[in-house]
C-alpha cells in the first residue's frame, strides 16, 4: 500500500517537475522514486496487508509481482533520457502517465474485490490510450491510439458485464464470497458460466489472447517505441497477474477450462504463424508477445499451486529480454534513418560485437534455447501443464515453441550479415548498460533459476 501511495505521489510530483525544471532531472527522480517504492514493498514482504476493508491484499504473489513491475519500469525509464533527448514532446507527462499506469498494475497485482479489478484495469489502460498517441503529428500513432481505445473500452464493457453477473449471483464483489459460492455450487449454473466467461474475455483482451489480439500488432507498431516497450513488459505482467488472481479463486471449472484450452490453442497457433511472415520488427515483437501470452495462459490453465512463481519467472525474464531488444531496435532504427524492417540489424556484429552478442542472447532467450532464462520459463510451463493432465495442449505448445525458434533466429541471422551500405550504430552509455544488465540477468536466471522460482 505504501508503494502505491509513493508511486502515485511520485507521478504528480513528476508532473510539477516538468513545469519547473528541465527534463534532465525527470528520469533520475522517477527511478529513485521507484527504488524507494521497491524497497517499501520488499520491507513488507512477510507482513500480511489487508487494505481498504479487504479490497487489496499485498500477499507474497502481489508483492513479488509489484516489485517485478517496478524493476522493469525502472529499466524502461532508464531508456527514457536518451529516447526523449531528440523529441520535442512534453516529457514529464509521458513519465507521469507511465507511473499512473504502473499504479494500475499494482492494483491488478493485489486486488481481492471485483471493484478493484475494474479500477485496476482502467487505471492501467487509460494512460496507455493517451501514451499510444504520443506522436502528435503522426497519423499512425493517432490510429494506434484510437484503435486501442475503442477495442479497450469494448473489452471493458464485457468485463463489467461479467462482474455484474457474478455480483448478481453472490450479492457481493468480494472474491472470497465468490469462492465460497462456487465451492458450494454443484450443478452447472448458466449465469455463473456467463459471468466467468465475460470476465475471462475482458482479461484475455488485455493479455492479448487470440481472438482478442487484433489491437496488439497495430498498437505496438503505431505507438512510440518507449511506450511499446512499456506495454510489452509491465502491462503484460499486470494483466497476467490480474487474471491469475481471478483464476486462483475461481479455480478451473469444466466450462472455464474448455474455453481456456481453446484460447491457448488459438493464441499459440495464430501468434506463432503470423509472426513468421512479419517484416516489421515491432509487429514481429507484437506477435511474439501474443505467442508468449499463449504460454502464460497455458500455465494458468494448469492452475497448480506453484503457478504464481512460474508466471512471475516467465513474465519477468520475458520483460528483461524485450526491454533490451527494443533498446537495440531503437539504436538500429536511428542508424538506418527510421526504417523498421528486420534488415536494420545488418552489420551490427561487425560494428559492435558486444551489443550483437547481447541481442543474440536476448533473442535466444525469447526463443527458449537452453542455458537462457526463456528455456527454463517454458520448461516450467510445460511441467505445470503435464502435472494438470493437459498433455495434448502441452504437445501443441512444444510444437509452436519450435516454430517460434525460426523467426527469432531469422532476426538473429541479420545481426551477422554485412550491411549493404556503411551504417554507424551509436550506443549511449546508459543504454549499453541497460542492455548488458538485461543480458546478464537473462543468462544468470537461466543458469540459476532458483533465485526467482
Amino acid at each position: 500500500m505504501s508503494a502505491l501511495i509513493v508511486i502515485s505521489v511520485l507521478a504528480v510530483a513528476v508532473l510539477y517537475l516538468g513545469i519547473f525544471s528541465n527534463k534532465n532531472v525527470l528520469a533520475p527522480v522517477t527511478i529513485l522514486g521507484l527504488v524507494a517504492a521497491t524497497a517499501l514493498l520488499a520491507s513488507g514482504w512477510y507482513i500480511p496487508h489487508d487494505l481498504l476493508h479487504g479490497m487489496l491484499d499485498f500477499d507474497r504473489t502481489a508483492t513479488a509481482f509489484s516489485m517485478g513491475m517496478a524493476v522493469v519500469a525502472m529499466l524502461v525509464f532508464a531508456f527514457g533520457p536518451d529516447y526523449y533527448a531528440r523529441k520535442q514532446w512534453h516529457v514529464a507527462e509521458q513519465y507521469a502517465l507511465m507511473l499512473f499506469s504502473l499504479v494500475g498494475g499494482l492494483l491488478l497485482a493485489s486486488w481481492t474485490n471485483l471493484l478493484m479489478l475494474f479500477l485496476g484495469i482502467e487505471v492501467l489502460s487509460i494512460p496507455l490510450y493517451v501514451l499510444a498517441g504520443g506522436k502528435k503529428r503522426s497519423l499512425r500513432s493517432s490510429e494506434a491510439s484510437l484503435k486501442y481505445f475503442l477495442l479497450g473500452s469494448f473489452a471493458t464493457a464485457f468485463l463489467l458485464m461479467g462482474i455484474t453477473l457474478l455480483y448478481g449471483l453472490t450479492g457481493s464483489f468480494d472474491m472470497g464470497v465468490l469462492g465460497t459460492f462456487m465451492a458450494a455450487q454443484a450443478a452447472p449454473n448458466m449465469m455463473l458460466n456467463f459471468g466467468l466467461f465475460f470476465v475471462l474475455a475482458g482479461m484475455a483482451f488485455k493479455v492479448g489472447a487470440v481472438p482478442l489480439h487484433f489491437w496488439k500488432p497495430d498498437v505496438y507498431q503505431g505507438a512510440p517505441t518507449l511506450v511499446t516497450t512499456f506495454m510489452a513488459t509491465v502491462v503484460l505482467m499486470a494483466a497476467i497477474v490480474g487474471l491469475h488472481r481471478f483464476i486462483d479463486v475461481t479455480g478451473m471449472p469444466q466450462s472455464l477450462a474448455a474455453t481456456m484450452a481453446l484460447l491457448v490453442l488459438a493464441t499459440l497457433l495464430v501468434g506463432n504463424l503470423l509472426a513468421l511472415r512479419q517484416t516489421n520488427f515491432k509487429r514481429l515483437m507484437a506477435y511474439s508477445s501474443v505467442s508468449h501470452s499463449g504460454f502464460l495462459l497455458l500455465a494458468l490453465l494448469a492452475n497448480a499451486d506453484t503457478v504464481g512463481s512460474t508466471l512471475l519467472y516467465y513474465t519477468f525474464t520475458y520483460a528483461l529480454a524485450t526491454v533490451g531488444l527494443f533498446i537495440l531496435f531503437t539504436i538500429a532504427k536511428r542508424a538506418n534513418n527510421g526504417a523498421e524492417h528486420l534488415g536494420i540489424f545488418k552489420g551490427l556484429f561487425a560494428a559492435n560485437p558486444v551489443m550483437a552478442l547481447c541481442a543474440l542472447a536476448l533473442l535466444l532467450s525469447l526463443a527458449g534455447i537452453p542455458l537462457t532464462a526463456g528455456f527454463v520459463a517454458k520448461y516450467q510451463v510445460f511441467l505445470l501443464a503435464i502435472g494438470a493432465g493437459w498433455l495434448k495442449v502441452m504437445a501443441f505448445g512444444v510444437l509452436m515453441a519450435l516454430v517460434g525458434i525460426y523467426y527469432y533466429v531469422m532476426v538473429a541471422r541479420e545481426l551477422f550479415l554485412p550491411a549493404e551500405q556503411p551504417v554507424t550504430f551509436t550506443v549511449a552509455p546508459l543504454n549499453g548498460l541497460v542492455i548488458t544488465l538485461c543480458t546478464i540477468a537473462v543468462l544468470a536466471l537461466g543458469l540459476w533459476p532458483a533465485w526467482l522460482i
Binding site: L119, V130, E143, L150, L160
Partner: protein
C-alpha cells in the same frame, strides 16, 4: 431510499435482465457495425450504461448498497474514458480528415 428500492422491486428481476441485455446487444452491434467514430463511442457508453442499469436493479434486489457504489465508479471511469477518447479523436481529425473508421487502415496485418 427505502421507497425507491421498493419501487425498483415492483418490476420482476427478469425484466431488468432482459432490458439490460437488449441495451448491451444494441450497443455491441452499434460498436461493431457503425462507421462514424462518435457513434461508436456513444454505443460503448450504451454498453456501460446497460451494465449500470443491471447493477442498480441487482443491488436493490440483494438489499446491498455495494452495487450502487459500483455504478458511481463506472460512471466516473466512463467519463474519464470518453474524455480521453474524444481527445484522441480530435487529434486523429487533425492528422487525417474526418471521423470515419475506415480511414484507420494504415496499420494492418
Amino acid at each position: 431510499m427505502d421507497n425507491v428500492i421498493t419501487a425498483i422491486r415492483v418490476v420482476p428481476l427478469e425484466h431488468y435482465f432482459f432490458l439490460s441485455f437488449l441495451l448491451f446487444s444494441i450497443g455491441m452491434a452499434g460498436a461493431l457495425l457503425r462507421r462514424n467514430i462518435i457513434i461508436v463511442i456513444m454505443c460503448l457508453e450504451l454498453m456501460l450504461n446497460s451494465v449500470n442499469l443491471l447493477l442498480v436493479a441487482l443491488s436493490a434486489f440483494h438489499g446491498d448498497p455495494g452495487g450502487q457504489v459500483m455504478v458511481f465508479f463506472i460512471m466516473l471511469v466512463a467519463a474519464a474514458e470518453v474524455t480521453v477518447g474524444l481527445a484522441i479523436l480530435v487529434q486523429l481529425k487533425r492528422n487525417a480528415d474526418g471521423v470515419d473508421i475506415n480511414q484507420l487502415n494504415r496499420l494492418k496485418w
